[in-house]
Amino acid sequence: MIGMKLLSLAGFMAGAAILGLVAGWVDRKVSARVQYRVGPPFFQNFNDFFKLLGKETILVRDGVNWLFVAAPLAAFGMLSLLTAMIGTALLFNRGFGGDLIVVMYLMMIYSVALVIGGASTGNVYASVGAGREIKLLLGDELVFILVCLVPVIQSGYALRLEAILAAQAANGPVILSPSGFIAFVLGLLCIQAKIALPPFHIPEAETEIVEGPLMEYGGPLLAFWKLNHHMMYAVYPLLLVLLFFGGFRLEGLGILWAVLKYLGIVVLMILIKNTNPRVRIDTALRFFWKIAAPLGILAMILAVLGV
């Protein structure tokens, strides 16, 4: 029994990794087409990952090395768990009481791992990047919680992913209501910030602080960070599909719908990514706290009022 569970966890892990690497390819290809370029071949992300795995691991002499090594692996484990929870709810309609709260916690742990891993080296770019990551987390976390509350309220204050899906199956997807639509737009921006995609790629700003927390990473550890990044591409849009689009059924036309819903969100993210410059960290905080948070509260109030 426990063997089966481990096997399914491994299945979700591999599924999310492959889906993420493919989504990463979609991102690179669509971005390239937007920018009049050709773009990479389909297996480029896979090749990059395996190539990095074969490279040397270089540790910083004065760094806290166990944290340096543990951070990407912890983040990978966290994302696998997240995938398993969201995947179980989406595919098998199963969950446990309060699993949405666990999901929100796990999503925060990724940022914490990035901060710890980056700061453990003592590199100056990494510490600036880690500082920015924390600030960005403080900015988007509040909004993201408000966003998650809207589907919770609409499904009769259920904190179970499965109950949220069931409520949407009965009453229609959350996004069709005004409060749900506002929450979805804000949620999309939060996810953009959580994956550190433009315009919120502030912690990793290549032309400013040279990839920030990832500065000292190379070889297999960097491969895991890259894989984590791609896995977020797979998991976070699926969470939005679950919370706002009523999930999907993997049978008949449902498969087409599933692909369309997922790809729709990914393409939206890619378009936002390609039409915006990087904002400053203070602009980002101001946006999340002064504009997005009040809008999130408004969406919540609307949801309580039933619209």
Partner: protein, 396 residues
């Protein structure tokens, strides 16, 4: 200066993704705010001036052309101006128009290149790719004129090296139509972009007083309200015979520098159009025969895309200069960072560093060595084949 405990040093360079070339800026930051900036130039040494003093005047034109890969006509132009200044040589009218045409085409492609890089530096890669795509037809015009996309080899003491025959003028006219519509589109798109505007307005402001005190030149000074432009102040070549405006903005920030450059692109297309019209009517020689240069001194100035480039030569009556001094615009623009980069966030300081369009290889004149292995494709052959194809298309 006493630094607080929270101060941190962030090195930008000698090798950093922001800088295409080796250069070193040390930012002292408190949290995200830059409190001090230390500039250190001199990471490249190529000995261009010394080599130039070993070459004849015509040879040194090819040498100074390679000081910079982007403003590769500004240096030769200033150099021939300097040599001509020794004996007050005149150049034929047709040659003047050809020189001006090339100089202005170069301004268009250089400003588009900067626009793209600026986009990349603020994380807006789409702008980068689009700007560089539309820069392509400009390079094609160069290929039609000279056979080369970047180092044109057109300048000579007393005129230009090659004529632009009527068929080519017609072909250039057609490509300029494309360039015109494309640059109007991208200039409008960039200037109307609300996101870009909100990101850049009021960032890295260089006040008018600082710009004057630090002798800033080119778009850097014109964005701060100082209307210095060699093309108007000391019109050489055909600049006295064409109609154009000097673009001046008063804000002094990165956005103003962007606006100055974008509007200058439009002015440059106007100048190019006028030059092409003149080339259809003005006939005559393109090169005066210069037998010898007497002993003396000469200075040459030209408004390069980045500002005034200045060449000084001292001659002794032989066929080479005994002293050749080059001052590139970035050399005077780089110190303005000490006025414009303090007290602003790191993210703003770095785009400000890029906003004067610094060209370090101009500033220091080091040599760039091409990689040993150019892959399996022979780029030189490809390039020659393309030039040949263009020639056949134009002449039938």
């Amino acid at each position: 200066m006493k630094l607080s405990e929270n101060a941190n040093q962030i090195p930008v360079g000698p090798f950093h993704p922001l800088l295409e070339e080796a250069e070193y800026f040390n930012l002292t930051v408190e949290g995200e705010t830059v409190v001090d900036i230390d500039m250190d130039i001199g990471w490249m040494h190529r000995g261009h001036e010394f080599i130039s003093e070993q070459k004849t005047f015509t040879q040194s034109i090819f040498l100074v052309e390679r000081i910079c890969g982007i403003c590769s006509t500004s240096h030769p132009l200033a150099c021939v101006h300097a040599v001509e200044d020794v004996d007050n040589l005149e150049i034929p009218e047709r040659a003047a128009y050809i020189r001006t045409l090339i100089g202005e085409l170069e301004r268009i492609h250089s400003h588009l290149l900067w626009l793209g890089l600026a986009g990349h530096f603020i994380g807006y890669d789409t702008l980068w790719m689009w700007a560089w795509k539309y820069r392509e037809p400009v390079l094609q015009m160069f290929e039609v004129i000279s056979g080369n996309r970047n180092h044109y080899g057109m300048m000579r003491v007393g005129g230009v090296a090659r004529d632009v025959d009527p068929d080519r003028v017609k072909a250039l006219d057609n490509i300029l139509d494309t360039v015109d519509s494309k640059v109007h589109m991208i200039v409008k798109a960039a200037m109307d972009d609300p996101v870009l505007k909100s990101r850049l307005v009021g960032v890295g402001v260089l006040s008018r007083e600082d710009a004057v005190a630090m002798c800033a030149v080119g778009p850097t000074s014109r964005a701060s309200g100082v209307p210095w432009d060699v093309r108007k102040d000391e019109p050489g070549d055909a600049y006295g015979m064409v109609d154009f405006d000097v673009i001046v903005q008063n804000g002094g920030g990165v956005w103003d520098k962007l606006v100055v450059r974008l509007l200058e692109i439009l002015e440059s297309t106007r100048i190019c159009r006028q030059c092409l019209e003149k080339l259809k009517t003005v006939k005559g020689p393109i090169l005066n025969d210069v037998k010898e240069i007497s002993a003396g001194e000469g200075i040459g100035r030209y408004e390069a895309p980045r500002g005034e480039v200045f060449h000084y030569v001292r001659t002794d009556g032989s066929n080479r200069a005994i002293r050749h001094k080059v001052r590139a615009p970035s050399y005077v623009n780089i110190p303005t960072f000490s006025a414009s980069c303090k007290g602003i966030p790191i993210a703003d300081a770095l785009i400000t560093l890029a906003a004067v369009d610094p060209c370090y290889c101009c500033t220091e004149r080091a040599l760039r060595v091409k990689g040993e292995d150019a892959g399996t494709i022979d780029f030189l052959t490809l390039s020659r084949e393309k030039t040949e194809r263009i020639r056949r298309e134009i002449h039938g």
